[in-house]
Symmetry: D2
Subunit: 314 residues, 4 copies
């Protein structure tokens, strides 16, 4: 009971046609709806709810909001109380206010990111159905992403000013939304500054993650692929389609996942993340990465910064 | 809250030395304890609790019991009440009665299998530790299984006599232990006989499964590997070590997993199961396999019975 | 100088439409020509010559002939002399007698199989071209086979009557066509009966192979895929397209290759063979498999006969 | 007849102990001999000849010489004549002058690199033997490289001065040693400057390659692995062993191979190269990469320079 998983993310894109070409033809999502405001809704083939990505045309790239699905309608009331008691304002959203969803609640994370919780979303079904399903659909384009896997949110971190929104978010997600801490990076002279955290509600290594930076933003949004081999194929497809790459196939030390980073046409960083990594469980002791091993954690093969990890976000 | 995952399985083996050679050198588990009764306790490298397999020397192979770990100690009381209310007798087990565990409860599934629940087990830690961990350990033998993944229990099914312990177990696990039904096989002239079910509490496709047969028993116990490529390596290792194979590398239609089946020296069927398959979630609609597609579900590549699936169990 | 590689195979099929559906949509070959006799010519995407498969409608399945390409036109004269000197009749074929080819020679192997040699075939080019080529083409169906890799010919073997066409073929291919012996199976009470051989001219483990049986025929024709992962995908595609499988994903001990066997609609056994295996070289000592390890050599994972290896051929 | 394959490479290393730790424990080669001058000889597990790498302690890193094995002793006489007729001085080497080898010839490539040809080298055998061999050995360390695959030699290229040792080497290798041109990079205002070439005698995409630079040197020496998955494992091992990485897992557009680049402790660049890529054949039309696609050819996934490709060599 409580939060089940990431439900959807609302991304700002500079040019809707270019964005759709990317999310449809490179990532393999399908458009499932458009609304009067011009927002476009897309789902991955292995998802059953109506959408996991909302694209909104805007003057700047980035994330408008992120939403998680809870198991039961009553969870919304219970969580609203807990969030409010924690001192964070919660706004009710009427059924349909989020396209195809039942009633919802919204609030800002300590970092300022807009988060929503909902219990119901219109059901469309996986592309392979539920009766004697094939393991993968014949149709489908590009990397054929399975599902929206997680997002990494950039949160303000300024130790000198005593600001650490990573730690604040992590505490909130743990105490109020019952997320579990899977991994963390501790930095600073005393090794006590939580500079990044990975948190889960499913039994995969992360459903959301936070990393410290100069200001709030979106570091990347990740879509799931099965295996290391799919990461090769994804990178091949990025090359064929001349997608701007950030980081070529590599293993994360953190989560053990296989990854490539690249950018959508608006500059929002995408990841294709593959592999289960490990079975995340409430009683699994959190993993800690120290400052000197930080980059080994991020990019295991070199142990060094790669791409524009610390400098580009939206 | 409630059941988290499979905790351990107690297997009967005919010859302890042969069994240990198999589970240590072929499967890659490590012995963590032995008790006065001669039971041997083993864990996989990616598990943190003291053991996931108990080997007991006996005159016949098979499973003595299976145990699941719950999240909190209080869950034991709540679940004991629910199980009792359901009409199943529950026996309390004192701390230490199960080696290294806190207090526990035991009961028989409708199928007759001995099941235990516990909230605490001695912590030993993953082989790679929790501080700047490597993604996999250098040491380790054979297939280096990550963790005990699931078991498939054979349950009495005799439609003519109106006996269906698969359906009874499934109902119990769902209503009392809050497991979710991931997939099922429906057979019979009206397609309404639940001949096999796959159920989960984690977000992997199954933590336990039931299949109908002439009598109760253990169909197989499965250990997790990462990827399809690891299944090849596992099959190579079985060949090198002359392990009796049952089913060579193949995809399950059900769960989409990658698999090989083989037998420990006592005849207990083992599986190495790889791949996440899909993200199992409470709101994912269950998948149904019909009788004519049953074997496509079990062994996707041929759609036909392979090995000794229906004839050999312990 | 001399033989370079397998050039094409002429297969008999019972129904051309069904055969084309298989070779085009399942195997991924493209039709490049049809002739007045109704023969259909196909090539794989990674081949540059006009065709590697000729389909001929007939009342029975099987192989009409197999052709190898030599490096230079003058090789045809030199090899004709060597073959004739060896005591085998050679027939000249005029340019164009084999569609799109220059002059050729034909003869029967000691086993009776019709073999042809040619030096020129019309050039069409790889699907990816030769200027800044992509590593794989976007277009393409089914398993997207790279190229015709090899054929395994069944040859009469009857030790009691002193007949061993495997040995005779092997001697001829070695002494006259300069093939190298990569691997062999030796059986019989004295371990001196060459029951199967694998021979190469390229530096892959085999370009042609011979296996003993009750009569001459075609055991299988193999198409190349890159990796073990492609073998999974191929098996998935066979399942989706309901292709009759013979052997699911497995490793050959012989050649170390990754394989699946299956049948075209006429019953001709096909293989998708993946992996380089090892670098075959003239000075590599041949590998020998003994009778008790024969099946370990064929199907490494079980060491036992699988599918219809010894009983079905065309 | 003629050159078969790369035979061995003589590398200069700054510290023999550090070098041996690298080539033995990271690369998986075995020491097979040491000579009175302190040279150490190593072979890969899948090679049958005595050694493929000679390590020589020196004050600077780099390559002393590279040797190719020819098929027959008589080839040495024929090739000596052809090389001499081409205008290049050839020196005879007595049997044993190269450790464990028969007589040999040596000469300098137009680029200045020392090349040797030999027909015989002491036979030690593959680690898996030739009788019912396992596909891979249980013993073996690190990445367990199969064999020395190729070397990329840096050759002086200065179009303004009219110097192009890449083109001179390529012409020599083709006309005199019967190598085939697989791929080439053409640059310059008229696209006619051969800035890099890949050449083969086996049917793999390259046995030697040349790239233009400011002066002669060794760009990298490559060892073979099977598959993309082995490249991941290799990169993991480099991370575990803190090997200095140059380029993380990536696909080459040229050869289609899977690769990582890294450095031995002396700074000699190593590559683990995986995948057959394509079947290289004498009649395959050479592939050309244009200047604007040069980096797409080298590092396919980004199409951009990565690591220290153009700046570091030995």
């Amino acid at each position: 009971m409580g939060v089940m998983r990431i439900g959807h993310i609302n991304l700002r894109v500079l040019d809707m046609d270019a964005a759709l070409d990317h999310y449809e033809n490179t990532m393999g999502l399908s458009v499932t709806d458009r609304d009067a405001d011009g927002n476009v809704y897309l789902k991955c083939w292995d998802e059953w709810d109506k959408y996991s990505v909302i694209l909104t045309e805007a003057d700047s790239a980035g994330m408008n909001s992120i939403a998680f699905k809870v198991e039961k309608d009553a969870d919304l009331d219970a969580l609203k109380k807990r969030i409010t008691d924690y001192g964070i304002d919660v706004t009710d959203m009427a059924p349909g206010e989020m396209n195809g969803c039942g009633r919802a609640i919204r609030f800002n994370l300590p970092s300022g990111h807009d988060m929503r919780l909902y219990a119901e979303k219109e059901f469309l079904g996986k592309a392979v159905g539920t009766l004697n399903p094939e393991p993968w659909p014949d149709e489908g384009k590009g990397v054929k992403a399975h599902w929206l896997d997680h997002a990494l949110l950039m949160c303000e971190l300024d130790p000198e000013r005593g600001v650490n929104k990573v730690a604040e978010n992590t505490k909130f997600m743990k105490e109020v939304l019952d997320f579990h801490l899977g991994e963390q990076v501790l930095v600073g002279p005393d090794g006590d500054i939580q500079a990044a955290t990975w948190m889960f509600r499913t039994s995969t290594p992360h459903d959301i993650a936070f990393v410290g930076g100069p200001e709030m933003g979106l570091h990347h949004v990740a879509f799931f692929l099965d295996e290391w081999n799919d990461v090769l194929k994804a990178a091949d497809i990025m090359a064929k389609r001349k997608v701007k790459m950030d980081v070529t196939p590599q293993r994360h030390g953190i989560t053990r996942g296989y990854t490539i980073y690249f950018f959508d046409p608006s500059g929002n960083r995408n990841e294709t993340f593959a592999g289960l990594g490990y079975l995340a469980q409430p009683d699994m002791p959190p993993i800690t990465w120290t400052e000197e091993n930080l980059w080994r954690g991020i990019f295991y093969h070199t142990g060094e910064e790669a791409g524009a990890f610390t400098t580009v976000y939206t």
